[in-house]
């Protein structure tokens, strides 16, 4: 049973436009959420995170929004650049040092 769901396996966006990657979760105990980015032949790298006490966290071109009532979070990339083309994983964890639970990932292609 998937607790973290990324329902779009892939997304294509034109350079300069906004990319929106979505993630849904089912476990109401999750209180910390992360996005990881993965290039081919490399391991995932941490991108941005958000605690459940917030509904928005911004870092440069990357913003994560959290809607706790809908159990939904999204990653916005503005403006999208070709170098953003990668697989993006959503991950979540519950309190007391429980392990990260990852989604299956969304492959973003930014087209020049």
């Amino acid at each position: 049973d998937q607790q973290v769901k990324q329902n779009s396996p892939s997304l294509s966006v034109q350079e300069g436009r906004i990319s929106i990657l979505n993630c849904d979760y089912t476990n109401s105990m999750f209180d910390y959420f992360l996005w990881y980015k993965k290039y081919p032949a490399e391991g995932p790298t941490f991108l941005i995170s958000i605690s459940s006490i917030k509904d928005k966290n911004e870092d440069g071109r990357f913003t994560v929004f959290l809607n706790k009532s809908a159990k939904h979070l999204s990653l916005h990339i503005v403006p999208s650049q070709p170098g953003d083309s990668a697989v993006y994983f959503c991950a979540a964890s519950a309190p007391r040092n429980t392990p990260l639970v990852f989604g299956k990932g969304t492959r973003l292609s930014v087209i020049a």
């Binding site: 998937q2 973290v4 396996p9 910390y32 992360l34 990881y36 032949a41 490399e42 391991g43 995932p44 790298t45 941490f46 995170s49 605690s51 994983f89 964890s93 040092n97 429980t98 392990p99 990260l100 639970v101 990852f102 989604g103 299956k104 990932g105």
Partner: protein, 114 residues
């Protein structure tokens, strides 16, 4: 550069033949993790070491074992690989086993079982 290194990057083994995957880190982190990622699936935590303390996930098969002889190295042993164990195996490290501590991943070892 401080990093997480996995060797080999590609490993081919035969059904039932034991195999060992290696991970090393120069970050001096206390925690080392092993994840399994099957094709088009989410990475799934198998186990982790917090210093010398081994923490196994409840649904990790007994076929999978791990060793951490020192801070820098951690090994994943698959005692009798089956066809279903073919996957990418990712090693990660963090300073502490808390969700807010960033995990740093290696590039992974892709295991093929013939």
């Amino acid at each position: 550069d401080a990093m997480v290194i996995q060797n080999p990057r590609y490993q081919v083994t035969q059904f039932g033949k034991p195999v060992t995957l290696s991970c090393s880190q120069t970050l001096n982190h206390n925690v080392m993790y092993w994840y399994q990622q099957k094709s088009s699936q989410a990475p799934k935590l198998l186990f982790h070491y917090y210093d010398k303390d081994f923490n196994n996930e409840a649904d990790t098969p007994d076929n999978f074992q791990s060793r951490r002889p020192n801070t820098s190295f951690c090994f994943l042993d698959i005692r009798s690989p089956g066809l279903g164990d073919a996957a990418m195996y990712l090693c990660a490290t963090s300073r502490a086993p808390t969700s807010t501590d960033t995990q740093y991943f290696g590039p992974g070892t892709r295991l093929t079982v013939l």
